[in-house]
Point group: C2
Chain length 194, copies 2
DNA sequence: TATCTTTGTTAGTGAACACTCACTTACTTT
DNA sequence: AAAGTAAGTGAGTGTTCACTAACAAAGATA
């Protein structure tokens, strides 16, 4: 993970906030400067371009998520508990940092530049990296169904998670994502247990 | 469904093509005119604004999808077959019209304007309108599991479908969506059958 | 034949955009 | 105390954006 100054982190957070509630076209240097409370040109003391801000944001989110998920999972717990812990951690994080849902819906940023695309794919891979071994272990010890492949199972789980986050976002964060997420998790578990 | 001229449909298709491979910020009047083979100002003979083009596109896609899904489903078939028919129809359509995947990922267009938001929500509702009764019927006659609610089941199904389309798009349409979609469908069916 | 209507053209418009420049101010280092 | 540096400012830059005005050509209508 790249080293980032306090000021850079502040800018990244402002950018996330703007992206989340005004979309990509709403993220202008003018708005960003206003949100930061200083002039437009000051931004360029901390980042060399707008693209660099977006990339730094995505890299920060990816690195942070990697650390969080790495720490959240007790390797001695049963598979089902690891599974729960992983998603609970995700829902807690986004509940506390709704302006960073961009990390899940970075789709909207796609096609902007190759570097951004790469950073987005990287975030998806981080999530996969932590989910896949849990699913495989669970299938091996009989906690999850073996009737479909691990890849298919992961696909269904990730799809449900993403859609949950999407619904939360279009509702303008009006419902409790920790509670609703928990419900979705239990429904998922119900049908993926053998 | 609003009446649309041939020329308007051509413009809508061009817009879909640009949106799909250049993103929202890539959809400019200049590019659109170039793709159409005439001047920028000619666009305004057919639409009063760029926003009107996007809205017309989304309304066309919603209406078209409604018709297609309405016609594709044999109301006498068993629930499982209706389910298969619905998704097969979707995969066939997008396979033939990849430039319209934007209908699935319209998320990226959110926050642009209230009218656009409305059109996007409408497309999602069209899909729900056709899927929900099939799922409920299937649960009632025992074709699908009753261990979770219809809403939860629909959520999992829709999430898996959207993620499948997302993977197809970021792969640059490199794989056969009809084949891969079929596989995903069977995996889904395996775990949602009682 | 004369006049609309439709669909296109060229050549613009002001506004917004990302970004730069010359300069200042406050701190730190030597 | 002198010199250097990090972080800010205000006033710009050229470019791109969506959109418009004035005009032209062709076909339909009267």
């Amino acid at each position: 993970m790249k080293v980032i100054s306090d000021r850079q982190l502040e800018i990244i957070e402002s950018a996330g906030r703007i992206l989340t509630n005004s979309g990509l076209s709403g993220l202008t240097t003018k708005k960003l400067a206003k949100e930061m409370g200083f002039s437009e040109s000051a931004i360029y003391r901390h980042f060399e371009s707008k693209e660099a801000i977006i990339i730094a944001m995505l890299e920060f989110l990816g690195g942070d998520m990697d650390q969080r998920l790495g720490g959240a999972i007790d390797s001695n717990a049963p598979s089902e508990e690891k599974f729960r812990a992983l998603f609970k951690n995700q829902f807690n994080f986004f509940s506390a940092n709704p302006h960073f849902v961009v990390a899940v819906f970075s789709d909207g940023l796609l096609e902007e530049s190759d570097k951004i695309n790469q950073a987005i794919l990287n975030i998806m891979q981080v999530k996969m990296k932590h989910l896949m071994p849990i699913v495989m272990e669970g299938q091996q010890n009989g906690a999850f169904t073996q009737s479909i492949t691990p890849d298919e199972l992961v696909h269904i789980i990730m799809g449900s998670f993403r859609l949950q986050m999407f619904k939360w976002k279009i509702s303008n964060f009006q419902f409790d994502i920790q509670r609703n997420g928990q419900n979705m998790l239990e429904a998922l578990l119900t049908i993926i247990k053998p």
